[in-house]
């Protein structure tokens, strides 16, 4: 399997003005410039679900989309979510979920980004993997398949960012921050729902940042 060696992931100009457009692109990028240790990060997999995008204008809900999107930070084709908006729409806040909700997890077979052929559905038990990270940081290999939707194991996260109308939205996932806070010496493999998955999804949530 091809491996990508990333020390820093640079984001280029992918934020054209969208003032005249009725499409709002939300682009996810892999970040890691908080790295304080000299390690080489090798990433095999960095995939996650985002969904239920909502836009607010001064706390008033002005747009919502009930849909899940699979983001694959290793695939150029799967980095972006495009929302269709009316040009007149004013908004200053965006919210969306990281992970798949309980209802969707109980719905049976679904297609598109939720098709189980995407490798983001457990087979030995029911449920979507919300966030899948596999690779190696320094000497430590890691394998995180984080998900869970039943009572106590529910780990879908709500992400909220202030944003500006007219600017594309770029959101960075700071993987180094996630791995540092996870403490790979202690926990390097989580493959099933439970309290550890819930805790790590909390760390993942804090590792997403809006890039100005």
């Amino acid at each position: 399997m091809a491996r990508l060696i990333i020390v820093l992931f640079f984001m280029f100009e992918i934020c054209p003005t969208i003032a005249q457009s009725n499409r709002l692109p939300i682009t996810f990028v892999l970040g890691g410039n908080s790295m304080s240790i000299e390690n080489i990060l090798e990433i095999e997999t960095a995939k996650f679900y985002v969904g239920n995008f909502e836009l607010f204008n001064n706390a008033k809900l002005v747009f919502s989309e009930e849909k899940y999107h699979l983001i694959d930070l290793k695939s150029d084709q799967m980095l972006q979510v495009m929302l269709g908006l009316s040009k007149e729409l004013d908004y200053n806040r965006i919210e969306f979920t990281l992970g798949v909700d309980s209802t969707t997890n109980e719905n049976g077979a679904m297609g598109g980004d939720l098709d189980p052929t995407n490798g983001m559905y457990w087979t030995w038990q029911s449920g979507y993997v919300n966030l899948k990270l596999e690779g190696q940081l320094g000497k430590n290999e890691f394998e995180f398949h984080l998900g869970g939707f039943t009572n106590g194991n529910k780990c879908e996260q709500l992400l909220q960012f202030d944003c500006q109308k007219g600017a594309a939205i770029n959101i960075e996932f700071d993987l180094i921050n996630f791995l540092e806070k996870t403490d790979l010496e202690e926990t390097s493999q989580v493959m099933s729902p439970g309290s550890t998955a819930v805790e790590l999804m909390g760390i993942a949530k804090e590792s997403f940042h809006l890039v100005e």
Binding site: E106, G108, A109, M110, G111, P116, T117, G119, T123, S126
Partner: protein
Amino acid sequence: MRKSVFAVLISAFLLAFHEGGESTTYIPHDWPETQYDFENNPLTEEKIFLGRVLFYDPKLSRDEMISCASCHSPYNAFTHVDHALSHGVFDSIGNRNSPALMNLAWQASFMWDGAINHLDMQALAPISHPDEMASSISEVVDYLNQTDHYRSLYFQAFQDSAATGELTLKALSQFMLTMVSSSSKYDQVKNNIASFNLQELAGYGLFKTHCNACHQEPLFSTFKFASNGLPVDTILNDLGRFKITNDSSHLYQFKIPSLRNLAYSFPYMHDGRFKSITEIINHYTTEKEANLNVAPELQKPMELTANEKIDLTAFLLTLTDSSFVFNKAFNYPRDLYLNLKKD
């Protein structure tokens, strides 16, 4: 998820009928509401047929030898006989006895430990398990998309020749949803077209006293989870539902199986340890070991005389539904392959 499915009943004992491609699974009039949401996956003749072809196709497995039907043979009420534990690709042995498949629309969870929460997603487990079919849904879909007759079957079923994971799983569900067993002698008695003999009647009384709490009529299971006090197999050390929930109150609990078609579905229990109905009944009349999290209903052994055991067995055999087991609509789709050969 609980949805009612309304179907006009021409007969409570018909499995299905077809009208313009649409198909309806008959719901016997006195049965509870189904758990499966048929509105999400309305049955059609073409989708059911596609599901049937998939069910019998060994090429879905790593060594091209194991199909769903390998462990779920129609002649055994869709389980398999001879083996306590089911076996898969390259003669590997699993750690559980494959469950009999029937009346699946009424069940909210699947597998002995309830690991799967929807019929559509159930097939992912055996497709992927290294000791069963040892493949993956993406490899299966790749194979289907490269196989001419499947492209045609998908087109007939979904008006799109491209197989996807979603459509494949839904087609398999469609076929499995037609596996309704509701034509046993018991059902005929309930519908006043047959009557129990004295032995069966006495057995029915014993059943209602001793068994009905867990093996509730008319499906002959609550489909909940319980420990029936089987001593733990020290090699398998199967913890049951606990492995899924991590909740110690679920230790050694397994899904309560239906008693329908018991005559066809031996061996019994999650690890296939019992070969006969007599062994099962003797288990329930025996004192249980401590620390097995035994269900409250089974704390005290059942008290049954030798004659009562025979009566109870006679009743259990009235749950045998030979029209289900020998229904040709469930058989290997021989005609399809004969026609393909001709072409």
